[in-house]
């Protein structure tokens, strides 16, 4: 455990010594602010329409959760596909290229500690990035006094879903980074794999029966969807956690195998 923390601290040290972390936070906030503002202006437009129609029933149905956060969380889940590859690409690949991994092999730490340390470092970057976007629900809570307010429980579930999908993406990226010694190759392959996990769902519209269900189950964003609606289903949690465990296990095997090659 102590070694895992040491590795994680080293990774965080490098994330913040290089511009990676800052650039990633900035981009994440810029893009998500863009989505938030456009969703907010849409909300404004719709509520004005309803008011003009003077329809209290429709007005009652209007809420932040459905109008803003569902869309926002869906978008953030997609943005993660573009950002996670850049976070994970150097984790193992760079150590292999610069041979610093030999240092880790000759000190009394286990491959599992190496893998977990790197994973936790990346997870904490993800957590901070997501934490920065808490600004939006907080702003709504403060400014929109008259409206129904923010349903914090649903918002929290949405964040849980985002964190889980990010954790799954990072596990995949970490594994791919352990397969190569080129950061660029690692980033590209990770990006394609994550992108596929999203766009494979588009084909579900044309499919029928069990195959449609199967494709939808494979699609990562489907599982995020229920979280953004404010529901937790065991199958979604199982989906994300099994990707995390599989990714970490595969990374562990890849790191171990690297010494035997």
């Amino acid at each position: 455990m102590r070694n895992t923390i040491a590795i994680a601290r080293k990774e965080l040290n490098i994330y913040f010594a290089t511009p990676i972390a800052y650039v990633m936070f900035t981009l994440f906030v810029v893009i998500s602010s863009f989505f938030f503002l456009s969703l907010l202006s849409q909300y404004e437009y719709v509520s004005l329409q309803y008011m003009r129609m003077n329809n209290p029933e429709l007005m009652n149905r209007l809420n932040f959760q459905d109008m803003i956060f569902r869309g926002l969380f869906g978008n953030l889940g997609v943005i993660l596909i573009f950002i996670v590859p850049f976070l994970t690409m150097r984790l193992v690949a760079e150590e292999k290229r610069t041979k610093t991994i030999e240092l880790l092999y000759t000190t009394p730490i286990t491959p599992l500690e190496i893998v977990l340390g790197k994973y936790f470092a990346c997870l904490s970057i993800l957590a901070v990035a997501l934490g920065l976007t808490l600004l939006y629900p907080a702003l709504l809570q403060i400014l929109a006094k008259d409206a129904a307010g923010v349903e914090w429980r649903s918002v929290a579930l949405g964040y849980l879903g985002l964190f889980l999908i990010g954790a799954a993406y990072i596990a995949v990226g970490l594994f791919i980074s352990a397969l190569t010694d080129s950061q660029v190759v690692a980033a590209l392959i990770t990006f394609v794999v994550l992108l596929m996990s999203w766009i494979v769902g588009w084909s579900a519209a044309r499919l029928e029966g069990w195959f449609r269900e199967f494709v939808l189950y494979l699609t990562a964003v489907t599982h995020l969807e229920s979280f953004s609606r404010g529901v937790v289903e065991p199958k979604d949690i199982v989906y994300f956690l099994s990707i995390v465990l599989f990714g970490l296990f595969a990374t562990h095997r890849a790191v171990e195998a690297h010494r035997w090659s």
Binding site: R9, A17, T100, E102, L104, T107, P108, I109, R259, W260
Partner: protein, 248 residues
């Protein structure tokens, strides 16, 4: 302290190390020589547990590198050919990290980093980012890293590469001062370095041991023909012995 017996390492068709056996006693400095591609680095990487051997066994401090790698790794400091440095970190952060994964306790860590940095003359640039250091400075950080945690065994792969003459002398003095308490395996291309620091010499060529003796023993064995009046012939230099053994 180090027992290597019948070590073999093949990389697919390439036989990097073929049946190498030797021993290093506690407190000894072994000069490990050989032409490029002779298998020096491969042997050192097996000794430190970076890669597994194809066959044969290595024991360090009585522990088998393969069976009890953790016990061995706790007792070894290794400076590879290219110092394994994280160029984004400062020297202090880097040494602190290495100390922590070598199991130096949180409280002792700062003092340990400080004392090793002073020993290797890294203290003058300890706050600088490693990426901005010169080759000689990086080499010294690499050496500092190997010394952290005060390991019983030091495996140094060409520790004086990239240093200027004054630094070479400093590092040699440092290595000599470590002898006695530490067991050291030192690989190098610079033969005077061996004469200056090592008690015993191991020469390998083509993956095989061609000489394993102390310096005077080697000189005696490869001395020139005795002169007519019965006095021993001129003692050859280590260069001559090296060339003779490795060209065969």
């Amino acid at each position: 302290m180090i027992e290597v017996s019948h070590l073999v390492k093949n990389y697919r068709d390439l036989k990097a190390v073929q049946d190498v056996s030797f021993e290093v006693k506690t407190g000894e400095i072994l000069g490990f020589l050989g032409p490029n591609g002779a298998g020096k680095t491969t042997t050192m990487r097996i000794l430190t547990g970076v890669i597994p051997p194809t066959s044969g066994s290595v024991k360090v401090c009585g522990f088998d590198v393969f069976e009890q790698p953790m016990e061995v790794k706790r007792r070894i400091g290794y400076l590879p050919e290219n110092p394994p440095l994280y160029t984004e970190m400062t020297v202090r952060d880097y040494l602190g990290f290495v100390a922590s994964i070598k199991g130096v306790g949180r409280k002792a860590r700062k003092a340990e980093v400080e004392s090793v940095a002073v020993k290797t003359n890294c203290d003058k640039f300890i706050e600088r980012v490693i990426g901005n250091l010169s080759k000689g400075q990086r080499q010294r950080v690499g050496l500092a890293q190997a010394l952290l945690g005060d390991p019983e065994v030091l495996i140094l792969d060409e520790p004086t590469v990239g240093l200027d003459p004054a630094q070479i002398i400093e590092v040699r003095e440092l290595i000599k001062s470590l002898a006695g308490k530490h067991t050291i395996v030192l690989s190098t291309h610079i033969l005077p370095e061996v004469t200056a620091t090592c008690q015993r010499v191991l020469i390998i060529a083509g993956g095989k041991v061609v000489a394993n003796d102390d310096l005077s023993g080697l000189r005696d064995r490869y001395a020139g023909a005795a002169t007519a009046d019965g006095r021993p012939g001129p003692a050859p230099s280590l260069e001559e012995i090296f060339l003779k053994l490795t060209s065969a």
